[in-house]
């Protein structure tokens, strides 16, 4: 036995008992981009028993600036993020049982994975998946930790079923079409700050120190030097469809999920948003003009071409992704540029 966890055991709120607990726990991380890489590395170094990582994307050059598990070799070979991450994580701590899943986290699969886990870490890049995680967390009774960042801004909240409000309580509407890391940029300290908030809360949950949880919605802007923490218990809604007594888990039903369809013989995937929306094509054109691809707009639709793919976005929020029959790949591109 080596003393690799000695410094963590010396920290008295964890101690030898806490370390033992951590080594018996299973955490599920959804998404292995910037947040997921940092979260996974922290948990693996801390000696988590089992880690399941899920991601639908592959490593690109634009990821390496902040996604700490990935290297040039991964980008050159377009290695799936889940696999690239797993290999690096095993090298960091060979005693952790690491399960890598290359998949788009759908409601059904997520429920199966979450049942096996003690905690779900949010490291996704879109609200659609977060609303599914939120419903699954309530249904299965497993806590999850929301975390997100754009630019120099970040936000986090810990959701404990039966105790705190859920994400659906906090959001009066689901924010679709917001800025993303691929449109507004992102700096790595914002990623690491969010993950620091998330992992601190995760460690408290894993050692069972629930009284020490922050119990506040926290946000910060590292460039504007702002920090905010709000006690949001009052926002828990009695009639919440996700956590209230008359719950229906709306985001687990097929109707409220983003609809995708492979268009026959066209090498294209159609994506329809989960709720009706009107897309401001003029604003989107300005945002996409800063990207490396080519943008064209007419009064009805906007087209964005990058490498072998072309995204065509309609005013009603619908998008066609040309150049692929792979739904996961199409959805990844869609969320990357459209939020």
């Amino acid at each position: 036995m080596n003393n690799r966890y000695s410094r963590q055991e010396l920290f008295s709120p964890i101690g030898k008992d806490g370390q033992q607990q951590i080594s018996n726990k299973h955490v599920l991380i959804i998404g292995v981009g910037a947040l997921g890489s940092a979260s996974a590395e922290a948990l693996v170094r801390a000696g988590i028993g089992k880690l399941t990582i899920v991601d639908r994307d592959y490593v690109e050059w634009s990821n390496i600036q902040r996604q700490q598990l990935f290297t040039e070799e991964h980008a050159k070979n377009r290695i799936p993020k889940a696999i690239a991450a797993k290999n690096r994580l095993i090298a960091i701590n060979s005693s952790v049982n690491i399960e890598a899943i290359i998949a788009d986290a759908s409601a059904l699969e997520l429920e199966d994975w979450a049942k096996e886990a003690d905690l779900v870490m949010d490291a996704t890049d879109n609200f659609e998946t977060r609303m599914i995680i939120n419903d699954v967390s309530q249904k299965v009774g497993v806590p999850w930790i929301y975390g997100a960042c754009v630019g120099s801004y970040g936000i986090s909240y810990t959701i404990i079923p039966g105790k705190t409000p859920c994400l659906s309580c906090l959001l009066e509407t689901v924010p679709l079409g917001g800025l993303t890391c691929d449109t507004a940029g992102i700096i790595s300290p914002a990623v690491n700050m969010v993950v620091s908030f998330q992992i601190s809360e995760a460690l408290k949950i894993l050692v069972g120190d629930m009284d020490s949880l922050r119990n506040k919605l926290v946000s910060f802007d590292l460039w504007k030097n702002q920090y905010s923490a709000i006690q949001v218990d009052k926002l828990k809604k009695k009639d919440c469809p996700s956590c209230g007594p008359q719950r229906s888990y709306p985001y687990l039903s097929f109707e409220n999920q983003t609809k995708t369809a492979v268009l026959c013989g066209r090498d294209s995937v159609q994506i329809r948003p989960s709720v009706p929306m009107v897309r401001d094509l003029e604003a989107l054109e300005k945002i996409l003009a800063k990207q490396t691809g080519a943008v064209q707009r007419n009064p009805y639709l906007l087209s964005y071409s990058e490498n072998a793919h072309r995204l065509v976005i309609f005013k009603d929020g619908r998008a066609l992704v040309h150049g692929t029959k792979d739904i996961s790949e199409a959805k990844a591109l869609y969320h990357k540029y459209l939020g």
Partner: protein, 67 residues
């Protein structure tokens, strides 16, 4: 007037009257936000009706989706 905004002592323009004006001023009016004024959380409807005063403590958190 001067207010404490997310912990920072901040001068905001005099034409700001309601919480919704602050959100517009910082261009986050079209985002999903949670706003607290002097320790009390506001509902979305209250953003339009809550008047701000000098030395108010305002906390604004807006939701983002990146990761």
């Amino acid at each position: 007037m001067k207010v404490t905004l997310n912990g920072e002592w901040t001068q905001i323009p005099d034409n700001i009257i309601f919480v919704s004006d602050v959100l517009k001023h910082y261009k986050i009016h079209d985002k999903v936000v949670v706003v607290e004024v002097n320790g009390g959380i506001l509902s979305k409807l209250e953003h339009q009706s809550t008047r701000l005063a000098d030395k108010d403590r305002i906390e604004i958190v807006h939701f983002v989706g990146g990761g």
